[in-house]
C-alpha cells in the first residue's frame, strides 16, 4: 500500500485545506498526475502523486484542514490487490451528481467550500459543465470579496518563513558588479529576429547563467535537512514572483541548466500567469533547490535576499542600469551594469566558494550565446 501524504509546499506551510479531489477510488494514477487541490495560506495548489498505482482510499474529506505529512489517500501499487475492508474511513469522493431541476447546479465540493467560506452559491454564475458552479467559481467569489484577508494571510506566511530563516540560517552575503553590455547586445539582436511571442527577457538569460554557474559550486544547490547538507544533482530554480495586491511566491522551474532559453521563457511566462491565478503544482512549490530573485527594470540597484529554508542559497539581481565602469585598459565609460548578490548558508559553504560562484556567473554572462 502506498501512502500519499500532504507535501509541504513551501517552508512556512504547516497545514492545508482539501478543496477538491480530482480522483476517486479505482482510478489509475501515474507519477505527476494531479490528484487533489489543496489550499495553502498562499494559494490553491494542485497536489501531484509521487507514485504510480490505483487509488484505494481517499482519507480526507473535502473541506478538512490537515497538517503537512498527513496521509490523504492510499494507492495500491501495480499488481497489489486490495486488503479486506479496514477501519479507515473512506471519505466521500467529490463525484458530480445530477442536480435537481429547480436547483442551481453546484458540485458537492463547491457547495461544501461555499459553506466554509460563507459564499452564497445561488448568487454565482458557474463555469463548469452545463453552467455548474465549481470550487473555482466559489474560490473566485470568496477571493473577490475578501482580498485583504488573502493578502494578510500571505504576509503572515512570508513572515513566518523569513523569521525562521533569519533565526536558523547563518547567512553570509556577497555582491558582484557585472558588465552587461555583451548580454544586452546579444539579447537585442536575438529578440530582433524572434517573433513577438518568442522574445526573451534578460531575467531568463540571468536565470540560465545562474543554473550553469552552479555546476562548479554544488554546495549552493540543495537542502539543509536534519542537521546536514544534502546536495541536489538536479537544478530546480525557485523564481520569486510578486503577486498583484501584495505578497510573493517562489515556485520552481525544473532542470534549468538543461533547458534552452526559449523553453525557459515559455515556462517562466506560464509560471507567472499560474502563480497569479493561484494554480501552482505541489512539486513546483516544494522542490526548488535554490532561489533567484530578480527586481527587473524598475527595481532597486541591488537586493540582498533571505534564504528560503530548507534551501541554502538565494541569488539576487538588481536593475540593469547605465553606470560608470573602468574597462581593462583603465578607460572610464558608461556601461550597462547589474549588481548580482549571493546570500548563502554558512553551515554549508564559505565566502571563498560563494565568490567563486559569482565569478563564474559573471563569466557566463559574458558569453550569452553559449547559454
Amino acid at each position: 500500500m502506498i501512502e500519499l501524504k500532504l507535501p509541504a509546499m513551501g517552508a512556512e506551510m504547516e497545514e492545508g485545506k482539501l478543496l477538491q479531489w480530482l480522483v476517486k477510488p479505482g482510478d489509475k494514477v501515474k507519477r505527476g498526475d494531479v490528484v487533489a487541490v489543496v489550499d495553502t495560506t498562499k494559494a490553491a495548489v494542485d497536489v501531484e502523486s509521487w507514485d504510480e498505482g490505483i487509488v484505494h482510499e481517499l482519507r480526507v474529506p473535502v473541506g478538512d484542514t490537515v497538517p503537512v505529512g498527513t496521509v490523504i489517500a492510499t494507492l495500491l501499487a501495480p499488481g497489489e490487490s486490495a486488503p479486506p475492508p479496514g477501519a479507515a474511513p473512506i471519505a466521500p469522493a467529490a463525484a458530480p451528481v445530477a442536480p435537481a431541476p429547480s436547483r442551481k447546479a453546484v458540485s458537492p465540493a463547491a457547495r461544501a467550500r461555499a459553506k466554509s467560506l460563507g459564499v452564497d452559491v445561488e448568487g454565482l454564475s458557474g463555469t463548469g459543465p452545463q453552467g455548474a458552479v465549481t470550487v473555482e467559481d466559489v474560490e473566485r467569489a470568496a477571493a473577490a470579496a475578501k482580498p485583504a484577508d488573502r493578502a494578510s494571510e500571505m504576509r503572515r506566511a512570508i513572515g513566518a518563513a523569513m523569521s525562521r530563516s533569519k533565526r536558523e540560517i547563518p547567512h553570509y552575503y556577497l555582491a558582484e558588479t557585472i558588465p552587461m553590455a555583451r548580454a544586452a547586445e546579444w539579447l537585442a539582436a536575438e529578440n530582433a529576429r524572434r517573433s513577438v511571442a518568442d522574445r526573451l527577457l534578460m531575467g531568463v538569460v540571468q536565470l540560465k547563467a545562474v543554473a550553469v554557474a552552479l555546476a562548479r559550486t554544488p554546495e549552493l544547490n540543495g537542502f539543509w535537512r536534519d542537521g546536514a547538507f544534502v546536495a541536489s544533482s538536479a537544478i530546480h530554480v525557485g523564481v520569486a514572483i510578486s503577486i498583484r495586491g501584495g505578497g510573493l511566491v517562489a515556485p520552481a522551474i525544473h532542470d534549468v541548466d538543461r533547458k534552452s532559453l526559449g523553453d525557459l521563457m515559455r515556462e517562466l511566462s506560464d509560471l507567472v500567469t499560474r502563480a497569479r491565478a493561484g494554480s501552482l503544482r505541489s512539486s513546483e512549490m516544494s522542490d526548488p533547490t535554490i532561489t533567484v530573485t530578480n527586481l527587473g527594470e524598475s527595481g532597486a540597484e541591488a537586493v540582498h535576499g533571505v534564504i528560503y529554508p530548507p534551501q541554502v542559497a538565494i541569488v539576487g539581481f538588481g536593475r540593469v542600469s547605465m553606470r560608470p565602469w573602468a574597462d581593462e585598459a583603465g578607460v572610464l565609460r558608461a556601461m550597462p551594469l547589474v549588481t548580482a548578490t549571493l546570500a548563502a548558508d554558512h553551515r554549508v559553504s564559505d565566502g571563498m566558494r560563494g565568490a567563486r560562484f559569482l565569478t563564474e556567473l559573471r563569466e557566463r554572462l559574458q558569453q550569452p550565446e553559449a547559454l
Partner: protein, 81 residues
C-alpha cells in the same frame, strides 16, 4: 480606428494583464509604468496582446517610445495608418 478607439483598446489590453487598473486612475501623459505595477513580464504580455488584437508587430527597439498612454495612442495611430 480613431484616437479614442485606440486609447480604449490599449486600456482594455493593459487591463487584461493588470485587472486592478481603472481607466480613471491613468494620467494620459505620465509614464504608465510609474502609475501601475507592470513588471518586464507584464510589459511583454501587453506588447503581445497588442500584437494579437491589433496585428501590430512592435519591435523591441521601439519599447522605449511607449512610455505614456498618449505615446501608445500616437504610435499605434501611425502604425495602423
Amino acid at each position: 480606428m480613431n484616437d479614442a478607439d485606440i486609447r480604449k483598446e490599449v486600456v482594455a489590453l493593459i487591463r487584461s494583464v493588470a485587472p486592478e487598473v481603472e481607466e480613471s486612475d491613468l494620467a494620459s501623459s505620465l509614464p504608465l509604468r510609474e502609475q501601475i505595477d507592470l513588471d518586464s513580464m507584464d510589459w511583454l504580455k501587453v506588447i503581445l496582446a497588442v500584437h494579437e488584437k491589433l496585428h501590430v508587430d512592435i519591435p523591441e527597439a521601439d519599447y522605449g517610445k511607449l512610455r505614456s498612454l498618449d505615446d501608445w495612442v500616437s504610435y499605434l495611430c501611425r502604425r495602423l495608418a
